[in-house]
Symmetry: C2
Subunit: 260 residues, 2 copies
């Protein structure tokens, strides 16, 4: 399984991904699911991949080959980011079809992508590209997109992320969303990759690869657990607790744990 997300705020874009791939529970590997395609000053794209690993690797190879060969269309030449999303979707379906024609019946070659970035002079954008090659953008009220094991990490995004959220704060929120998912589900695992793209910077953005032992990542997880305990202790007591003066606080209920 996988958990990836992208957030679009006024200040820019956030991309985050885990790194666990598995074919069955006893065949687990670590692969980066975040791919950066940048032409500084002109355009910058990020692709997050999930699904069949042979398909996603082939898609990334094709995109790179097209761009290096300066063929048209390629990410280097396409004039509009919607067309770029469509181009990625077309490559994905082409590769899935080629694999299916060669493969045994019943195999699943599907792949899903989150794609986003900015072309000079245009607005930043993020898209979720389905296995069928079609795609959607984020909603106005909840400006984020998720794929894979999305449910564990959704409540924090629902409660916090709005268009006016500060970029770095959205980045930390994405890390918490992935951290909570990793704690609750074995099929999502570190290292966690985070990329924050500042609007109109047209560069590669700030990219972090956080292992479970990374001091920043551990500090963030500990601070979050502490904040959650504090939030829980701040909830209004039930009526009878006032009467009996039995209000107590939770202490050390969620110690710092390994992040895996």
């Amino acid at each position: 399984m996988t958990y990836c997300l992208a957030i679009k705020v006024d200040e820019g874009l956030v991309f985050a991904s885990d790194s666990r791939t598995n074919a069955g529970v006893d065949n687990i590997s670590t692969y980066s699911k975040m791919h950066n395609f940048s032409w500084p000053g002109n355009r910058s794209f990020v692709l997050l991949s999930s699904g069949n690993l042979a398909t996603t690797q082939a898609v990334v190879r094709r995109i790179r080959a097209d761009a290096e060969g300066a063929v048209n269309p390629s990410l280097q030449t396409i004039s509009d980011i919607n067309a770029a999303a469509n181009y990625v979707g077309k490559i994905s379906t082409d590769i899935q079809r080629a694999q299916a024609e060669r493969g045994t019946a019943g195999s699943n070659f599907e792949a899903t992508f989150i794609f986003g970035g900015q072309i000079a002079g245009q607005a930043p954008a993020i898209f979720l590209i389905y296995p069928q090659g079609n795609y959607i953008h984020e909603s106005t009220e909840y400006p984020f997109l998720q794929m894979g094991e999305t449910k564990y990490g959704k409540p924090i995004l629902d409660r916090v992320i709005r268009s006016n959220t500060q970029l770095e704060l959205a980045g930390r929120c994405a890390l918490v969303s992935i951290n909570s998912t990793i704690r609750s589900n074995l099929t999502v695992g570190p290292p966690v990759e985070l990329l924050m793209y500042k609007k109109d910077s047209l560069g590669e953005g700030r990219h972090m690869v956080l292992t479970e032992h990374d001091p920043y990542y551990r500090g963030l997880s500990d601070a979050w657990s502490e904040g959650i305990r504090h939030a829980l202790n701040g909830l209004p007591p039930f009526e009878w607790e006032y009467e009996h003066k039995t209000v107590q606080l939770v202490q050390g209920a969620a110690p710092s744990q390994t992040m895996g």
Copy 2:
């Protein structure tokens, strides 16, 4: 869909359930999924139900009829809570089989239950009863059980609930877990029922039915959103934010919303 959970802490038991039932997205009703069977001073049980509504209603009817008729076995006469869980599982499979023999092929009559309580002189217990009639108890490290739409509300339980968590605090945590699920998923809806059973009380426990307009429930949700914002603002800034002194706080990003 449904979301129900039970928590077992040293001080007692917590049961919580939503009230939404649906047969398709345009056929939505409100039914209580929490059923109390108590003989004060002697024994007290709670049953949370999910799955096919005709099955779960028939199971509850049968349990009540057995108890009122004082037949053996019934919840009134069974001497051990494991045997009680087995008895509920047997009724569930009997009723599913009877419905399947009568019904059309392809219909799904399955039901899942959370069952728990205490018999005088014995320890309190909680069980998850599968559609197959077999059942499991909670884990030692994570002493809670969930059924239905479980993922949205799991991270908060994973981070907070331990055996030494205070009973009322576990109750508030259960409400937050359900509140987060309701915000993120339309198929789970209010009113929310909460029952807190104090160990060895052998009574009906404290039972609350919280509509989305209930002042306590609204206050709890607002306090939680505020606590989450505070927790997020307390996370360690990225390195470059120190350099550029750009640390900002999130404000009003998650306003008080309707709870539905």
